[in-house]
Subunit: 349 residues, 2 copies
Amino acid sequence: MASTATGEEVPNKRVVLKYYVTGFPSADAMEVLTGTASLAVPPGSSVMVVKNLYISCDPYMRDRMTKHERPSYVPEFVLGETLVNFGVCKVIASGHSDYKVGDLVWGVTGWEEYTLVTEPESFFKIHHPELPLSYYTGVLGMPGLTAWAGFFQVGKPKKGEYVFVSAASGAVGQLVGQLAKLTGCYVVGSAGSDEKVNLLKNKFGFDEAFNYKKEADLDATLRRYFPEGIDIYFESVGGPTLEAVLENMRPHGRIPACGMISQYNLEEKHGVRNIFQVVAKRLRMEGLLVFDYYSDYYKFEEEMAGYLKEGKISYVEDIAEGLEEAPAALIGLFTGRNVGKQLVAVARE
Amino acid sequence: MASTATGEEVPNKRVVLKYYVTGFPSADAMEVLTGTASLAVPPGSSVMVVKNLYISCDPYMRDRMTKHERPSYVPEFVLGETLVNFGVCKVIASGHSDYKVGDLVWGVTGWEEYTLVTEPESFFKIHHPELPLSYYTGVLGMPGLTAWAGFFQVGKPKKGEYVFVSAASGAVGQLVGQLAKLTGCYVVGSAGSDEKVNLLKNKFGFDEAFNYKKEADLDATLRRYFPEGIDIYFESVGGPTLEAVLENMRPHGRIPACGMISQYNLEEKHGVRNIFQVVAKRLRMEGLLVFDYYSDYYKFEEEMAGYLKEGKISYVEDIAEGLEEAPAALIGLFTGRNVGKQLVAVARE
Ligand SMILES: NC(=O)c1ccc[n+]([C@@H]2O[C@H](COP(=O)([O-])OP(=O)(O)OC[C@H]3O[C@@H](n4cnc5c(N)ncnc54)[C@H](OP(=O)(O)O)[C@@H]3O)[C@@H](O)[C@H]2O)c1
Ligand SMILES: NC(=O)c1ccc[n+]([C@@H]2O[C@H](COP(=O)([O-])OP(=O)(O)OC[C@H]3O[C@@H](n4cnc5c(N)ncnc54)[C@H](OP(=O)(O)O)[C@@H]3O)[C@@H](O)[C@H]2O)c1
């Protein structure tokens, strides 16, 4: 089936959004339907058809599940249409000269078995198929590039600096912490369970880690872990965590602002009351979105593949089996059900 | 009296803080006392005695009027001791080889007639006494350097960009707006009275200006003035203004965070609920404190003196006469009583 385009129609399971959500979403907002897919590309076109092997569950998708009053940084999903997000794919038909049948690629694809890709140029080639292909949804894919660009290019770390990472056991956080250790920083991470704290300390080599759900006074907790203060806060959580961090930043500290997952499901967002610390401590808080760094991707891929092969970076993923599990896997990000990078195996190949 | 050190004791009016304040302060928290000053420097020491000509009223002084629970970026004033802040002074006795009697200098001095300066090296020399000396509390002094460094070094403006300035008619704001115009930016300012709005448009050359007290929905107001969004927000006000601005920033916008005067007197600070815009729009919000830029001062002084002489920069100041007026002048900053840079003439010379 995956050899050449034949024009045959095959069944195609797909995940769609049933209704726009507000507040904390339920997996119910999505459903898995079965349609059909054509495995051929129209003659003369430059599109391609891919078989989806692994699809990624990413927190930003939450924003796409809500109807926007004003345009957001990503458009909302279209109800009834197949959800789209990053995935690892095999090309099974191609009218594009740069992509041939059998190529392994990653990029934005459908939450379905087969996807007709109208913009093949938006896909990256996979140069290290000797590593687990699923890694291209994480450490070698979008979250990896986010961690690498966010920490180095936005955070501009120096050896010996004090680094705090929130959502530290997740896809991005586990890598930020390890890159910080490779840079010679002192690194503390926070996560939502003792199991995750154990991972941080014993698998990822963080200097310290704590379960934020057990800390009543995060400001005091951070003061304890960072008596000298924090030079770099890699921000993934926002809200009260950001407030506590601002109290504990050192002068000229940096906050690469990657995400604020604690706020994504809140109808009334938490108001940050101590933004004045940005002035008083001359902090630099700077947002990043991974697609601004796509031009660095292949450089990053080589560097990260090297770290993985040399055993300098460890990586933990949480793989749900089959598209049926995708809605719950996505929602699980917001309760911290995932341990490590959450993805879905659509087809193992 | 101002010629050489004679050892004589003279009466010395001075302003002291009577009690630490919370919330909105009253001029009553300060009082004007009369003590004595010696006009001589102890033989062999390297201190100097200055006669204070003009002293500056600056918003950050509010922080020094409150007892701090945790160390702040500036220490609190000592009750009963003479207040200190930037001023323009004439040296009347000196044991320091770099400063001689008759020199005109500016730096941190006392809110009094005569001050014994123990660290003369912290004072800057005045190279343009042909311009009004009072300018060295403002356009040629600390607020000027703040505007210049904050706009150029932190804001990194480009020709044609859209710039919003809050507290725009004040010491810093009027200069930021004019520097932005000199850079070829489109500039809108907000201020708290129609008189100030008139100044912005007709004296300082802002493209547009509005009285924020008359705008019920600042988000909508900004959308009207910036249909394309804001590239640089020079932040002096904080709170709800910052929130409205965040909704209207353009991708990759910059926020030099200079101050947040709307928050200085609040016991409960306003919580900023849409900090996530920093991520979504990849904003850079960066704090600055002027003393980080002192090494650029003389370069700045030449540049700004040039603009003033060529008529490229206009400047408005609000001068209170005599130390007796100093407490009310300081408090007036927080009600917007000042039109332009607020200072106090201690002695005209
Ligand atoms: N800017 C970009 O281009 C970009 C790219 C990728 C990711 N991101 C952002 O980076 C962050 C991490 O993403 P990821 O892919 O690595 O996800 P992840 O960390 O693998 O999964 C999300 C984790 O967030 C934590 N979490 C959920 N709700 C929380 C809450 N209310 N308070 C604190 N923690 C909570 C949970 O871990 P615990 O058990 O520890 O609570 C959960 O496992 C997110 O904010 C995401 O939006 C940004
Ligand atoms: N980071 C640094 O190193 C540095 C150095 C100097 C100054 N600053 C900061 O820069 C800002 C401006 O200082 P400045 O010396 O130029 O003072 P200024 O603007 O000359 O005077 C203060 C002005 O702030 C406005 N204001 C007062 N309360 C307000 C409120 N609740 N909401 C909105 N506006 C309010 C008033 O004007 P309206 O009539 O327009 O309301 C008042 O005239 C302050 O935040 C100050 O702390 C920082």
